[in-house]
């Protein structure tokens, strides 16, 4: 994230200088605070939570910073009350703009406090472009403001928690009208948790209102005024007037604020915020824009969900489309290939020296996992076994038999490479509808081929299917009991590594935001190379993959109850569930790790991917964030009794 600062205007002070925390305590006229990037000495002891959001505050100074924030709020409220004359200050702002770097909070606060004596003149009316990169010229259309300036008071607590530092309150109307300036105050009548950008919506004010409160405040001239004025007593909520200068951060803030509004059932605020998010997102580019777009659409869907699903929505839910998007997701990023290769390796090792093997796949789709297993079985040192594959898939809306087609293709491949292959497809809308005896029974015409003496080794494979069962209570337990009854040698489970099944909506939303941001980043990273002939197709795959993820986002955010099927859980949670059901972990060997590492090395932009091994399970992640986890399980000795 780059903090860009410009100093314009004739009166602007000299260039940038690195501001350290202790510098700006004097009361002077204009002060310029340059960007504090490059200040390595500031990095030590910087509070990490704030640093992740782009603000550098030393942990030791936290209390001091909070106090100064309160002082600033008081000072600004007082100056807002005092300001009455727009005309006189307008020329000042037109000629002289001073921009402050808010990332170094302590310094910035000092400079604000020292300057806050005269009301900062309002900005000249900027063009009505809602969001542009240079935030100082932002101006938002506030015609819809009145709808949102409602009294539902949402308060937060704990003044010193860093996360609270970003709960913004809207400006009291008189303050706005007087100075045309956006000021934050603690106005109990119009309290609302919104992000700084959003307060524009809430005020019908002169065109000079702007989101860059910091810039406005920075234009104050004169000596320092400290003042206990008639400010209302702080309701234990600090007001932070910050100018983030980074639409990315603001976007995240807006999303979080919107989610909080939804959680508190403040649908009107949430609605306004959603529109604002879309506007902000348009100014971004790359993965952040797409993620924000999908999340905004999902929240909008949630807000209006009482409307029955339209025809379009129903059509969009077809499994055929889902398979198509899934296929593109397979091609554009390595997650599914990783999943398939590691699971196949576990199955291969479990099947060593078995002559008859049976694989049950809980999510057959296009069957892209199985050619590699067929080839590996064919090239086993002891020769190929006879393989039986049972595939389970959802009912198709257009009555085509996708499962059978997949089986036919696999049979052709198996025949050409000399593996004795049999296939069976089951159509089931939910895995809980299956029973173990259905999976184990053989077709009639196979009876004479089987030599009854030889036992069949069974493997159960589930790639991103088990989490759907969590939507119905008891479904997962039923399925795991069924798996136990099948007596498998190995059960391979691949799941997304995230907790999207948390208690509160806000938790889920936050988790999902981080998870899908990493996902979209990785799609961008692995797809981006020089523009050549293959690029067009790559981009198409990527767009489809993003649509696939977008559907998941929509499900996580907008749906509830039985509809919400994307209930991802972390590896730790799955470990607990499998252990309770009677399985014990089987370690994935080093072969799987090596193969996965090799596979990742082949991906351009594969620098970002990380394969890690935790307690015998392999995870693939983007930079530091694991995104998908493969684990293998055996029936535990206790359960066999």
């Amino acid at each position: 994230m780059k903090r860009e600062h410009q100093e314009t205007g004739a009166g602007g002070g000299g260039g940038y200088h690195v501001a350290t925390a202790g510098d700006m305590t004097g009361a002077k006229g204009k002060m310029t605070a340059g960007p504090s990037m490059g200040t390595e000495d500031d990095d030590c002891g910087v509070d990490e939570l704030l640093a992740a959001l782009g603000y550098k505050v030393r942990s030791s100074e936290m209390a001091d910073v909070a106090q100064k924030l309160e002082q600033l709020e008081v000072a600004m409220a007082s100056t807002a009350a005092a300001a009455s004359d727009d005309a006189s200050v307008l020329p000042q702002i037109a000629s002289d703009t001073v921009h402050y770097d808010p990332s170094d909070l302590a310094t910035w606060l000092d400079s604000m406090l020292s300057e806050l004596n005269a009301p900062p003149p309002p900005l000249p009316p900027p063009p009505p472009v809602a969001a542009s990169v240079h935030h100082h010229h932002h101006r938002f259309d506030v015609s819809t403001a009145s709808a949102v300036s409602e009294p539902p008071a949402i308060t937060t607590v704990a003044p010193l928690r860093p996360s609270d530092a970003y709960d913004f309150k809207p400006v009291p109307a008189p303050a706005i009208a007087s100075g045309g300036r956006v000021v934050y105050g603690l106005d109990p009548q119009s309290e609302m948790i919104v992000s700084p950008r959003d307060q524009k919506r809430k005020r019908t004010c002169s065109p000079s209102s702007s989101s860059s409160r910091g810039a406005e405040a920075g234009r104050a001239r004169g000596s320092r005024t400290e003042g206990a004025s008639s400010a209302k007593p702080a309701a234990a909520v600090p007001v932070v007037v910050v100018d983030t200068q980074e639409t990315g951060i603001r976007l995240v803030h807006a999303l979080m604020a919107c989610a909080e509004a939804v959680q508190q059932e403040n649908l009107k605020a949430a609605d306004a915020l959603v529109k604002h998010i879309s506007v902000l997102a348009a100014s971004q580019d790359g993965p952040m824009r797409k993620v924000a777009g999908y999340f905004a659409a999902a929240i909008a869907r949630r807000i209006y969900r009482r409307r029955p699903l339209s025809q379009v929505d129903r059509a969009l839910d077809s499994p055929a489309l889902d398979d198509l998007l899934h296929g593109h997701f397979y091609e554009s990023c390595p997650y599914l290939k990783f999943a398939h290769f590691t699971a196949n390796q576990a199955i291969l090792e479990a099947f060593s020296s078995c002559r008859r093997v049976h694989v049950i796949d809980f999510g057959m789709r296009q069957g892209l996992q199985w050619p590699a297993l067929l080839q590996a079985l064919a090239l086993r040192p002891e020769g190929p076994p006879s393989l039986r594959l049972t595939g389970i898939g959802p009912p198709q809306s257009d009555h085509s038999d996708a499962l059978q087609q997949v089986g036919w293709k696999l049979a052709m491949l198996a025949k050409s490479i000399g593996v004795d292959f049999r296939y069976r497809g089951f159509v089931a809308s939910s895995l809980a509808d299956l029973e173990s005896r259905m999976l184990l029974e053989r077709d009639g015409n196979e009876g004479d081929r089987d030599d009854e003496g030889e036992e069949e080794a069974v493997a159960v494979n589930s790639v991103m299917e088990l989490h759907r069962l969590l939507a119905r209570t008891g479904a997962l337990e039923k399925v795991l009991r069924m798996v136990l009854a099948v007596r498998p040698r190995i059960v391979t489970v691949v799941e997304e590594e995230a907790n999207h099944n948390g208690g509160t909506f806000l938790d889920r939303f936050t988790e999902a935001l981080h998870y899908y941001s990493s996902m979209f980043d990785s799609l961008e990273g692995s797809g981006g190379q020089a523009a050549e002939a293959g690029e067009e197709e790559q981009q198409q795959h990527r767009a489809m993959a993003e649509a696939y993820l977008g559907r998941q986002i929509c499900n996580v955010v907008a749906c509830e109850g039985a509809e919400r099927t994307e209930r991802h859980e972390t590896l730790g949670q799955w470990r607990g569930r499998m252990a309770r059901a009677g399985f014990e972990p089987a370690h994935l060997g080093s072969n799987a790790f090596k193969q996965a590492s090799m596979l990742l090395a082949l991906y351009a932009g594969g620098d970002g991917f990380r394969v890690e091994e935790t307690d015998g399970c392999l995870t693939l992640g983007w930079h530091t964030r694991p995104l998908i986890a493969t684990s293998a399980w055996r029936v535990s000795a206790a359960a066999t009794r």
Binding site: E331, M598, L602
Partner: protein
């Protein structure tokens, strides 16, 4: 004058000897030629296939490409004879070693060499390092997926190997 005559005679003798030596042509010993070509890397072998019809025919022999593949991937050369036979039949069923190299191993080696070369090593050492990292089983897995995608009247062009075919940034 005598010396000049002697010199001419010596020259003639030398030319005859040269003629006798020239009678040996590598193109007369196809198996030897195949053995030699099998020690090339993929790109050079493809170039060699442009020399003449004979070399082109040899460049299409799967056994030559089999040698190339095994030489360039880890774990290929050490397979036992029995394993080699079954590998051969499986690979033949999937499309042959030449196709395997063209679709999987070649691009993969380029990708690995490119990423290694980006760190400053020369092309030869990069190629050696790349070979070390690729295994035959992985390439065969990818190859089999591609083969599977081509089966049965594909509606879309098979794309599972597209991730290998992206151009390597050589800036």
């Amino acid at each position: 004058m005598l010396t000049r005559e002697e010199g001419e005679e010596e020259q003639e003798e030398e030319e005859e000897a040269k003629g006798r030596r020239r009678a040996f042509s590598i193109n007369d010993n196809v198996d030897l030629l195949a053995e030699i070509l099998g020690r090339l890397d993929g790109r050079s072998l493809a170039v060699a296939g442009c020399v003449c019809r004979l070399w082109n025919a040899l460049g299409r022999r799967d056994s030559v490409w089999e040698a190339v593949c095994h030489r360039h991937v880890a774990g290929g050369g050490s397979s036992a004879a029995g394993g080699g036979c079954s590998t051969r039949s499986v690979v033949a069923a999937l499309g042959g070693y030449r196709r395997l190299y063209r679709l999987c191993i070649g691009p993969a080696l380029d990708r690995l060499a490119g990423s290694a070369g980006g760190r400053g090593s020369t092309t030869t050492t990069a190629a050696a390092a790349a070979a070390h990292h690729l295994s035959l089983s992985l390439s065969l897995s990818l190859f089999s997926i591609d083969c599977y995608e081509r089966l049965g009247g594909r509606q879309q062009p098979p794309a599972s190997l597209l991730f290998l075919c992206k151009p390597v940034d050589v800036s």
